[in-house]
Symmetry: D5
Subunit: 91 residues, 10 copies
């Protein structure tokens, strides 16, 4: 399983709308509206590298109202939980 | 369940060590070492507001090697998964 | 009682108007027009986490003239005053 | 009554200690440990301009563990509450 | 006498025009067009706190062509000159 | 008369000391301790370009406790006051 | 052979289109769509300094959808590979 | 001779045009299109302070396509060359 | 083949030394010392995701003299060259 | 002739010393101590690309007291003067 975290800024009155659209995309596991400098944080969980490219450079760019994104690809995942089994992705 | 995302920078040679220490703390659900401007991203999942305060302003400040943190508290969580049940936290 | 501080920038000629609209919203305890890099600082005082989400991601986004906000959620409050009693919020 | 808001960063393991010291200073009405880029937010409420100068450029600079501060002086205060009476300052 | 310094950016072709308008406002003692990151620096000298609020959040916001301002309120003034007498303001 | 404005940051516990040392230097007309991101603002008023170079790149660099400076040279000065006569510099 | 690396930001929905246009220009050896703060990274490999000037200040500025670029010219190249031979450029 | 260096950003497709216009202005000695965060660097060499003010706050602001400038005035010039004689400016 | 670009800052007198050490690591295809805000740019070309994690969070953190890194993972690679064959990696 | 402009910050009390050392290096045509965010600006004029690499990544890194540099390589030079002849470099 490949994990990525995306920090997102939206037009002021579209935070909730963008959040809902993001959450409905396959591969987007969770979307949080958050306090601080960013509006939304999306957690992507995917089986393959290729899906990630498709998700970030194609599907996410088509959502209206996003003004800026900064994506971070997880090198390593440390967790007390068996995330792959829980989210049913990967191995 | 209260969720928080913490962006973390560490001393260069302590990324993995800090990551392991963070992951062992109760309430820290996942720790990712990531590409980009930050070194680690931690996802906190807790039952109560009070635990969050204790985790961020007390327990996390005692880990040696962290140079900067920026925490974001989730207002709303959108997910196709039943995260509360999966992580067994809060109702 | 949950406290949050929001740093706000507005369109140049709408500082006072935005300030007045913010101050009239329930849960917004005080609004200060301030010197420095920001135009307004709002202090939110609420009984419940849910109200905060509603206030920041919904009600505040509908005020015209705000260009940027950065919200900070209080983990802990230290005061010589009994703020909960004074503001009549929370336990 | 003159109000000022101060954004504060501290050495990582001194957030709580600095917060307590700040809260004990006369004229510091509230201190919040907060999520985000800053560690603490202090609200100062004073009767006179001179006290503010004394507080920010003298008393606060003597607290050990503060690494950066950014103060904002309130030009105008909008509130549903009678803050001067509640905090017993001014008038 | 209360002193404030305001760092100002303007639309590129309005530096001189904005400077002249600012200089004509009562309470604005001097306006400098300057080298560096900012276009203008205004020095405000006033008798009362209230005038400052009025000047910065009302009169200055009505000047067309200003894109950004950052105001700094003087806590203390050190000078070999008797500024209050020279500018005929305050005591 | 040549005017320059210098934005100054100091070590936290040396704001007042640095301010006093600066104010005693010939050519430094006024020093303000200020709210916001900077600690001090110095106004330099000199008869000659050469004095300015000497003041900024030599005399001011010898004051202990200054951590950062950003100087701005005035191209033009707009004022209701006859600053040259008042400060007895230039013409 | 002269190498240059260009960090590129594009309008959100034009990442792939801009990438393809860049990749088709002579002298642009590789274009990567990337995670993080930038959208694309282009590697330029050219025989002559003059071509680089032409590429960056002329050809690349004509591609629609680029919002910001930051170019870095390589002083020295260290590689286990014989890049000049592999890319058929220079000596 | 007074020297100033100006860092300039332009609209993407006007780098060369703005550069040519700048180079034709009296007092602008050299204009370089450059790698990195800025688009152009202009070197101004003038006999008098007044010309500099006129050049930067008037003539340069009338060139279409400039989006940002940051000017730096030289306090001192160190060179193995006799720049004043070479450029035929000043004493 | 997985590609990553790493922007690197080093201690001032260790640019060349760090560059040579980086270039000798397996998986580091090219290292460029560059003009601008960064000191070095490293291009990583690897067969597997796991190697990338090992390279960035372990091997590269052990090189003395690096002060900051910002890594970017390539989602997609566009090139007129058959990079995989040329560098003998992947497929 | 290849031109490069280098923006330089130094330790506060070493501006003049660093400036003099830089000016004595072959290939460094002019060094200016300047107003604003930077301390020094160096203009490099060289016959060959290789000399530039040697100057920036080797000779300049050996000068004590420099804290940060940002170099910009000139793609194109526009000037009313015949710089190559004047500085006796190139052609």
């Amino acid at each position: 399983m490949i994990n990525a975290i995306v920090l997102i800024n939206t037009e002021r009155d579209k935070v909730n709308l963008v959040g809902e659209k993001l959450a409905s995309i396959e591969g987007v596991s969770e979307v949080y509206s958050v306090s601080g400098r960013f509006d939304l944080v999306a957690i992507l969980r995917l089986a393959e590298n290729e899906d990630l490219s498709d998700l970030i450079t194609d599907k996410m760019t088509k959502i209206d109202g996003i003004t800026k994104t900064e994506s971070m690809i997880a090198f390593k995942t440390l967790s007390k939980y068996d995330l792959e089994r829980m989210f049913g992705i990967g191995e």
